[in-house]
């Protein structure tokens, strides 16, 4: 009888999900709840919390550094996303042909993805160094003027965006490659019968059929931009003149340099809200139905 009942409700299921429920309550639920409280308080973590109403949000609206960090993220995304998609798409298309040693090429493009951002940043900091950096050494060798990669407010954020593209593009190559291989060859064969050119096939079959991958790349890059932290932390400390101050770096500074816990939580809360809005807008704008 006991055995039969088991198939109705598996009580052991509760035992098995119990660790998750405890984990969720402590490390997700409580922090979420507490962040709702924190945003209405002033708190330096040592003395008691002081209720401040909407002070933090009001301060945020008039905080030039908050807007600056958003603008910097926007600059990062405007360079990073198109560059990422174009490079990844081109290389994925090349790797999708019948070529020798495809595994080797794929593994090479993927190498920077698995290596810590800390390593990449330290390496590129040398490349970008004004006097002795590799890039400027090459530039002056071929008779061009040196570029102030990290020490000019106009160049610093684009430099970081280029480095981030170099680090991440391998992942997107692999994602596009998987997307390309999922397109049924019968569609291309049908297009061949109708006399379509390679160009037409690319723009009228490949691009539309890759839409789900494209959305994924778009969203992952956006999340990456809003999570940018260690690159400016190591390379520039957010400078010159806050031109590489990213959202997370600003939250980190407010929380751990100035001990403004309430305000840092408010910043984080607002940034998280903006991320969700941006992702929803991106989906609305770019997601199309794919018929396969």
């Amino acid at each position: 009888m006991e055995k039969l009942c088991r198939y109705e409700t598996d009580r052991v299921g509760y035992v098995m999900v119990l660790p998750y429920i405890i984990f969720f309550l402590i490390f997700v639920g409580y922090p979420l709840f507490f962040s709702f409280i924190l945003v209405f308080h002033k708190w330096n973590i040592i003395s008691p919390m002081k209720f401040a109403g909407l002070y933090n949000f009001n301060f945020l609206l008039h905080d030039p550094l908050f807007w600056k960090s958003l603008r910097n993220t926007l600059i990062f995304l405007i360079i990073h996303i198109p560059l990422q998609i174009i490079v990844a798409l081109v290389i994925a298309n090349i790797l999708n042909q019948k070529i020798i040693a495809r595994g080797f090429f794929r593994a090479s493009f993927f190498l920077p993805v698995v290596i810590s951002g800390v390593v990449i940043t330290i390496l590129w900091q040398q490349f970008y160094s004004f006097e002795t950096g590799l890039f400027n050494t090459i530039l002056s060798r071929i008779g061009m003027t040196k570029i102030p990669w990290l020490i000019n407010t106009k160049f610093a954020m684009p430099s970081i965006a280029i480095m981030a593209t170099w680090k991440n593009v391998g992942l997107y190559i692999v994602l596009f490659l998987a997307g390309l291989q999922a397109i049924p060859s019968s569609i291309y064969e049908a297009a061949d019968v109708d006399g379509a050119t390679a160009r037409q096939k690319f723009f009228y079959i490949t691009i539309p059929m890759l839409n789900p991958t494209m959305i994924m790349v778009l969203i992952l890059s956006t999340l990456g931009g809003f999570s940018l932290f260690i690159e400016p932390y190591v390379m520039t400390g957010g400078g010159p003149i806050n031109s590489t101050l990213s959202c997370v770096l600003y939250i980190y500074k407010q929380a751990f340099y100035f001990n403004h816990m309430g305000y840092a939580a408010t910043l984080a809360f607002t940034v998280a809200f903006i991320i969700m809005i941006v992702v929803i807008i991106q989906r609305k704008l770019f997601e199309t139905e794919v018929y396969a």
């Binding site: 999900v17 507490f34 593994a107 190498l111 190591v234």
Partner: protein, 269 residues
């Protein structure tokens, strides 16, 4: 002929992604004044920069800390996430769908929002500068649960039923029957969890201040940013090399799994 040009261009593109690491390896072995040379070669190769790193910071301790933290989290994620994934895919109980929805919801929460309150929680628990702070918040992964749930759904029901008839408990079914037959899922979750934990630097920077508990990326960052490297590029590159080598070795062994895992999930490090 066209084919040859094609391969030459492809090889150049590949070099753009690989050569920096070759350059870094040799630069870390060159004396300081030769580092800005383009050529990877030198007559004066030495381990001087590495010896300096060992002398100035307890990098071995940091390596062990990283190993302890990354391994504990990976093992824990495999055990717990597969258990929860199993319950959500093969057991029937009230509230199952609710828990599934909650997990989906948690995956959509940007980490920024919980960062500060989670730090406050660590302070309240007295966990700053402890291993618990580094390990416990990572012990269960929502992504792991979803992947295992999906994978276990396809496991043949007849085998599970047969094991039940033989009196095997659900824990026995999961760990002794399903696990040995789910190696690809275990490898995928294991690799992604280990790599993400190994490379994570923001969380250690938040909860650890004492040198003896620092993880390797954190120590290398503070060594480079702080004054200890004394702006010597060779020494900075040597410390970065030591941070990269363990993951590169694992990548060389499990290369195919790495790429397949991350292509499958779209999760990046």
């Amino acid at each position: 002929m066209k084919r040859i040009i094609f391969y030459i261009l492809l090889l150049i593109a590949t070099l753009i992604f690989v050569y920096p690491f070759i350059w870094m390896t040799t630069a870390s072995l060159r004396p300081e004044r030769e580092i800005s040379y383009l050529s990877p070669l030198s007559r004066n190769f030495s381990f001087g920069s590495y010896i300096t790193v060992f002398k100035r910071i307890p990098i071995v301790r940091a390596f062990l800390n990283s190993l302890i933290v990354s391994s504990s989290i990976t093992i824990s994620v495999l055990i717990f996430s597969s258990m929860i994934g199993y319950a959500l895919s093969r057991l029937k109980f009230k509230g199952r769908e609710l828990i599934f929805m909650v997990i989906l919801f948690t995956m959509m929460i940007p980490f920024q929002i919980t960062l500060i309150p989670l730090y406050v929680l660590m302070v309240k628990l007295g966990w700053t500068d402890t291993y618990q702070a580094l390990i416990v918040p990572g012990m269960i992964s929502a992504f792991g649960i979803l992947l295992f749930r999906q994978y276990f759904k396809a496991f043949p029901k007849s085998i599970i039923d047969a094991a039940r008839v033989d009196g095997c408990s659900d824990f026995g079914i999961l760990y002794r029957i399903i696990w040995p037959n789910s190696i690809p899922a275990l490898v995928t979750v294991g690799i992604i969890t280990f790599m993400n934990t190994w490379n994570n630097v923001l969380w250690p920077l938040v909860v650890i201040r004492k040198t003896s508990f620092m993880t390797m990326p954190q120590m290398v960052v503070l060594f480079t940013v702080g004054g200890q490297a004394e702006a010597q590029v060779g020494v900075q590159l040597a410390s970065a090399m030591m941070l990269a080598i363990p993951i590169v070795i694992i990548y060389m062994i499990f290369q195919r799994h790495f790429i397949a895992s991350m292509a499958h999930t779209g999760i990046k490090g």
